[in-house]
């Protein structure tokens, strides 16, 4: 049976469509500002941790770029690095025993702070979303707000007509709750204009995604031992060995 064309009361536009859109924009701005206020100041890295990370990186760079060193200096630097990587000088924290299990991130005071911030952030977002959803549900359930000017397939019905229990209504009609969802996802370009900064809107979108759990890094002493072992097996070559012939060849002064 063909459903007759609906006629929408124009006051729905002023009392439902615009208020929802306006409230969503205000809500987005408010949430962004609250997030900024709640963001904890990043903690400074302890010098010992910094030394550990940078010395490890130096060993990796040595492994990659050793060909810039003449043999004698290569050997001296290689020996020094192997010695310091294996004697534990660079380790920031005492290594755990072999059979000791890695610390539970929920009881580890360093990790729990990060988890707490993550939880705070996602709970804050969740509560705000629930409040907004509740508000829409309470005032606007069952409202149809607009008709899209282009045809759509039946699969869009669930997306566009949430909260409307009719099976035969044309897919192009959009309900209030669906309008809320569409606005939630599609307002980033409006925020770009309001903030004049594309990075903020993208962070807003990112905050809606659940963050991945922090990866537990491998023990530093093991990483250093592995690097030291790698350094031991490097066979030396030197980039300056035949540099003159390369230059002469480059300028066509000799043929190879």
């Amino acid at each position: 049976m063909q459903v007759p064309e609906l006629i929408i009361d124009p006051s729905l536009k002023y009392w439902a469509l615009f208020p929802i859109t306006f409230a969503m924009i205000l809500f987005g701005l408010l949430r962004q500002n609250i997030n900024l206020l709640l963001t904890p100041t990043p903690k400074k890295k302890a010098l010992s941790k910094r030394r550990e990370a940078e010395q490890l990186e130096k060993a990796q760079l040595f492994k990659r770029n050793y060909w810039n060193l003449p043999l004698s200096d290569f050997k001296a630097k290689q020996e020094w690095l192997i010695l310091r990587l294996t004697d534990g000088t660079f380790i920031a924290e005492k290594p755990k025993q072999e059979n000791e299990l890695p610390q539970n991130p929920l009881t580890d005071p360093n990790a729990s702070e990060g988890l707490m911030n993550m939880a705070k952030n996602s709970f804050g977002n969740m509560i705000a979303q629930y409040a907004m959803m509740g508000w829409i549900n309470f005032f606007f359930t069952g409202f149809i707000l607009m008709k899209l000017p282009f045809p759509l397939t039946y699969k869009f019905k669930q997306m566009l007509q949430a909260g409307i229990a009719t099976t035969d209504l044309d897919v192009r009609w959009v309900s209030a709750i669906s309008w809320y969802f569409i606005s939630t996802l599609g307002l980033s370009s409006v925020f770009n204009v309001l903030y004049g900064d594309t990075t903020i809107a993208s962070t807003l979108n990112q905050q809606q995604q659940p963050s991945a759990p922090a990866v537990v890094s491998p023990q530093a002493n093991r990483a250093m031992e592995a690097e030291a072992n790698d350094l031991k097996i490097i066979s030396h070559k030197y980039v300056l060995d035949d540099v003159e012939s390369r230059i002469l060849h480059q300028y066509n002064l000799i043929t190879k």
């Binding site: 050793y66 900064d197 003159e244 000799i254």
Partner: protein
């Protein structure tokens, strides 16, 4: 390259530190105009990075008041207490403008968290001339390098300091670390070439004098291999290969040194004729061709 990209690159690579006064002034005026008609694509982070650049350019070009206003704007946004980066700006401002000799050091003293690496760096730099012995400064720099072994600025400072003290071998050993971090740094290759040349010049009759000269020539060769229009590299290659021609070396090698000598001489002439370098470099190139 867009103007925005150019300024951000100058900021990121601290190129302003190497500018001549006229270039500093020109960049400062361009930046002021650029920030006046703020580009829409400029993010907040980029904007404050450019403000930091404006601060440095103003300070270098003796516009102390502009530097102070810019610093205050940055402090208004980010606060004055926690940020190490702002503390560094403040130290720079105080050491450049304050009439009190120890104003910057007193400010460092007043900061609670002294275990900040950039503050440590500034402290060591400010105390450079106050240390009782030259060894103290070396010890401090080595201590800093223990924590930040990849900081090429510190490596370079230590290497150059060794050079000033006449410890050429230590200077080379230290500066080589830059090549581990930046393997294609042609400036460092040229600098190493100069130091090898200095070792040779110190004692041309030493047993390993020829070896040092060959090392010098190899390093200069590498520098021009990496940057074909590098006046400093070509000049070094010109001098070292000319000198090597007078040494007792293998016949084949001697022929190569002669070719390198002619190549570097022609290349320097070409650079001068086509004016493909800065005025200062062109002047140096002409002097070298005349004197050697």
């Amino acid at each position: 390259m867009s103007l925005k990209k150019k300024f951000l690159e100058i900021h990121q690579l601290a190129l302003f530190a190497t500018f001549e006064p006229s270039k500093t002034n020109e960049t400062y005026l361009d930046l002021i105009n650029f920030l006046k008609d703020k580009d829409d694509s400029l993010t907040q982070i980029e904007y404050y990075n450019l403000l930091e650049l404006q601060f440095y350019l103003a300070l270098i070009s003796c516009r102390d008041e502009v530097a102070k206003v810019t610093l205050d704007r940055i402090i208004d946004k980010f606060g004055d207490e926690d940020s190490e980066r702002i503390a560094v700006l403040k130290i720079k401002y105080l050491s450049a403008t304050s009439s009190e000799e120890d104003a910057a050091l007193n400010y460092i003293e007043s900061r609670k968290g002294k275990n900040e690496i950039h503050i440590l760096k500034s402290t060591i730099a400010l105390n450079k001339n106050k240390n009782n012995s030259k060894d103290d400064y070396v010890v401090l720099l080595k201590g800093l390098l223990e924590v930040t072994p990849l900081d090429v600025e510190v490596i370079s400072e230590l290497g150059e300091y060794y050079y000033q003290l006449g410890h050429f071998d230590k200077a080379i050993f230290t500066l080589q670390d830059i090549l581990l971090v930046q393997p294609f740094n042609h400036l460092t290759f040229a600098r190493l070439g100069e130091i090898y040349n200095a070792i040779y010049k110190r004692d041309p009759k030493a047993k390993d004098a020829t070896h040092q000269l060959i090392q010098s020539q190899k390093h200069f060769s590498r520098s021009i291999e990496l940057c074909s229009n590098f006046v400093r590299g070509w000049s070094g290659l010109y001098i070292s290969s000319k000198e090597l021609k007078t040494h007792k070396v293998d016949k084949n090698k001697l022929a190569n040194y002669d070719k390198l000598y002619k190549l570097s001489r022609d290349k320097l002439k070409e650079i001068i004729d086509l004016k493909t370098a800065t005025n200062k470099d062109l002047e140096y190139a002409s002097k070298i061709l005349q004197s050697f």
